[in-house]
């Protein structure tokens, strides 16, 4: 595989052959940026190269700048409501790591001294309820459960009641994984939201995206946003070999910001998203 550093060295040397551009293109595509975003970045870089080829300019810095421009300008923080429970809903396709992310969020908010209540509204996947309950016991967070195959909205409703009763700071709803193309299942998310909002507003809807996802991630973000007004992304499995380039493509097309990065199997393996680190990671080896 070609290396970014090799390309950068060539840029600095000023001798950029068409083959180098092709190599550069494939590097960006292999980072899952997608053909469209890659094309844009290549155009910007070509312009930069024209201006800089004579001097040994900072092409790497210029590329970082170009990538930075593609990030969403939206805020990446999770604001807390003052006088009431802050509610967070977790959504995503199957197998991206929603339940693990919920566990990590429990730990994250707990370590900040907040009290947390979780609703296990994934009533579909076999043993999902047990999975989240195991985590709840480990971390010390009450988990509200319903019956397997039960109505997820009613579990979420019981959860928010409990959270308000307990004066909890944070209420998290774990939902079942669903493919974004199944409109019936997507409507179910809207229902969960409406039912909870009869009692208390939902402040955040976080979409969990697997870093190994390809260009399909863009479709996921678009369709989930249509159904439940997604406010942010959690990019999971960043500890693998995938660079999660699709996140940048998602930010560029939908404006939904990445808020958290998940990178391991422990409850503590969740970090706030740091754009600079992420972009550097994209163009590192």
């Amino acid at each position: 595989m070609a290396l970014f550093s090799k390309i950068f060295a060539k840029f600095r040397g000023g001798a950029i052959a068409p083959a180098d551009w092709e190599e550069f293109e494939s590097l960006l595509i292999e980072a899952d940026l997608g053909a469209h975003l890659t094309g844009e970045i290549i155009e910007i870089s070509k312009e930069l190269a024209r201006g800089r080829s004579s001097e040994s300019g900072d092409i790497e810095g210029a590329l970082l700048h170009a990538l930075r421009e593609k990030l969403s300008p939206a805020s990446r923080s999770i604001p807390r409501a003052d006088e009431r429970t802050t509610s967070i809903m977790i959504v995503g396709v199957n197998g991206t790591g929603k339940t693990t992310s919920v566990a990590k969020l429990m730990q994250y908010f707990k370590s900040q001294g907040a009290s947390v209540v979780v609703a296990a509204a994934d009533t579909f996947r076999a043993a999902a309820i047990d999975q989240i309950q195991t985590w709840g016991d480990r971390i010390g967070v009450p988990v509200i459960v319903g019956k397997t195959e039960g109505d997820p909205a009613s579990v979420a409703f019981d959860g928010i009641k409990r959270a308000i009763g307990d004066h909890a700071d944070i209420f998290i709803i774990d939902t079942a994984g669903r493919l974004h193309t199944k409109s019936g299942l997507m409507d179910e998310l809207g229902k969960i939201r409406r039912v909870v909002e009869k009692v208390s507003p939902i402040d955040e809807v976080l979409l969990v995206v697997d870093a190994t996802t390809g260009q399909n991630g863009i479709a996921q973000a678009k369709l989930f946003a249509e159904s439940v007004a997604v406010t942010g992304l959690i990019l999971t499995k960043m500890d693998g070999s995938a660079k999660g380039g699709v996140a940048l493509a998602i930010e560029a097309t939908t404006g939904i910001p990445v808020k958290f990065i998940g990178s391991g199997e422990g409850a503590g393996d969740l970090q706030l998203f740091e754009p600079e680190l992420y972009l550097k990671g994209l163009i590192s080896e």
């Binding site: 980072a31 899952d32 469209h36 996947r125 999975q131 409109s183 390809g214 995938a242």
Partner: protein, 493 residues
């Protein structure tokens, strides 16, 4: 499935079709279009370039010959289809059963690829082929993976060997080994070992997989991969091939809009065939993978073969032969028969999934996605609220009967009317088919299905409320609609 790719292919070809004689420039142009489509589908770059080079080479080589034919674009299309089939794995391969049972199948893959769900689907598939599979819970890593496998096993009535609770407790290698011994003692002929998901770069877990492999020496190691995975697919697959190694690939989550391009790359890069495709949330949503059928699906030719097979599987042979007999004898197709068909259709699984297999399904994609499977249940309720006399002769359905049926089924009278209208249209069509007048325009499906060995009348025209533009909805609407149900019934009979 592969829909985006399909629409790109068809737009590329429609521009080609408008040309009579092809020049080498046209070939290069379509090559570039297909290339862009494949990249957007997450196919690894070098795989794309090789694929395109092959198509262009073959097309140019045959250009003279192609241009002599009646339909040059069709000839190019054939080349693309052949190459696509080849890249998808050429001839399909199946699980090979060991000469000395039990056959050991080990599942590996990245986290979240869907191994545990797949273990259940595979077990059910093998069970319905007459095997006695045993599931072994060697994923002791993910919280409650063992419980999940137990729940899945219970639902399909396949025993699960799970001596350890999981959640980080227990040794997966000894569980696998003990599972094999257990199977040998109890004479299970297939052992399916579910292992922990792992990232390609995690050497420790990879070593664990290798130890499990060495402990049970599997006949088949299957690499389970999510159809939505991006360019990392090749890296992950190569890491797994170098690590634990695998003999075949299983594609999961193919029911989404993922273009599955990465999966094509895995095949090309590792030379391992795709054996199965998993396409839904239910345990039965599982198919053998046919490269040629997938190729025609990508190219928008539909997948009638799979559809016909599914239909055959779900309709018991008694019902089928009874219907065929009726059809041949020239007896009328009645609502009783229709009810039997509805039952069979429900057994076939999701309607939207079946519809997606029809040729040209891409054009009505939105309608297919929004198809409400409950429509079947509602239709069934209406028919079940009829007396046997009514079912066998819908002509007796006057206003008060219709009102009673509506009440009995909890539907509106208009829905009952609608069903009866569409049913009589379908009945008329069946008569036409029998008398050899052929299908009304645009109704290619039932005829095609009959050819594929579908039971006569298994088509969907009657009352299958597919939102427009479905054949059912185009049934002729009576112009004079009296507000008085009794009068209307009189008009209709």
């Amino acid at each position: 499935m592969f829909d985006k790719l399909t629409s790109k292919f068809s737009s590329a070809f429609s521009s080609l079709r408008s040309k009579g004689r092809l020049k080498s420039g046209d070939i290069e142009a379509i090559g570039a279009e297909i290339r862009a489509a494949l990249i957007e589908s997450d196919v690894a770059l070098d795989v794309v370039d090789k694929f395109i080079a092959r198509i262009i080479d073959r097309s140019l080589e045959k250009l003279e010959e192609v241009n002599k034919g009646i339909n040059p674009s069709q000839a190019i299309f054939t080349i693309v289809n052949e190459e696509l089939t080849a890249i998808l794995g050429g001839n399909s391969r199946r699980i090979t059963l060991a000469k000395k049972p039990p056959t050991v199948i080990m599942l590996t893959g990245l986290q979240g690829a869907g191994k545990t769900s797949l273990a259940g689907k595979l077990a059910l598939h093998l069970k319905s082929a007459g095997n006695t599979p045993l599931l072994v819970a060697s994923d002791l890593q993910r919280p409650n993976a063992v419980t999940q496998l137990q729940v899945v096993g219970a639902s399909i009535k396949v025993p699960v060997f799970a001596p350890e609770p999981g959640n980080g407790v227990g040794d997966p290698v000894s569980v696998a080994k003990a599972g094999l011994v257990f199977a040998q003692e109890k004479l299970y002929n297939i052992v399916i070992v579910d292992t922990a998901g792992r990232l390609g770069v995690d050497q420790e877990l990879m070593n664990e997989a290798i130890r499990i492999r060495d402990a049970v020496s599997p006949d088949e190691i299957l690499f389970v991969v999510d159809a939505m995975v991006g360019q990392d697919a090749v890296r992950a697959a190569e890491a797994f091939q170098a690590g634990v190694g695998f003999d075949g690939v299983v594609l999961t989550k193919l029911d989404g809009d993922a273009r599955g391009g990465a999966a094509l790359s895995i095949l090309e890069k590792t030379g391992k065939p795709i054996l199965f495709a998993s396409t839904g949330e239910k345990v039965e949503d599982f198919d053998l993978f046919y490269p040629d059928r997938m190729a025609s699906r990508i190219l928008g030719l539909g997948d009638i073969q799979t559809l016909a097979e599914q239909a055959k599987r779900s309709m018991d042979s008694a019902t089928t032969s009874r219907l065929e007999e009726k059809f041949i004898k020239g007896e009328d197709f009645t609502l009783t028969d229709f009810l039997a068909q509805l039952e069979a259709m429900k057994n076939m699984g999701s309607m939207s999934k079946m519809l997606a297999m029809l040729p040209g399904a891409g054009a009505i994609k939105k309608q297919i996605e929004n198809f409400d499977d409950n429509e079947l249940v509602r239709t069934q309720a209406i028919v079940q609220s009829m007396t046997p006399i009514e079912r066998n002769d819908p002509k007796v359905l006057n206003g008060s009967r219709r009102a009673r049926i509506a009440k009995g089924s909890g539907r509106q009278v208009s829905e009952v009317n609608n069903l009866v209208d569409r049913f009589s249209a379908a009945q008329k069509m069946m008569k036409q088919m029998r008398s050899g007048k052929g299908m009304p325009a645009g109704m290619g499906l039932p005829a095609g299905m009959a050819r594929m060995g579908m039971p006569a009348g298994m088509g969907m025209p009657a009352g299958m409320g597919l939102p427009a533009p479905s054949p059912g909805r185009t049934a002729p609407k009576k112009k004079s609609k009296s507000g008085n149900p009794a009068k209307r019934a009189a008009e209709e009979s």
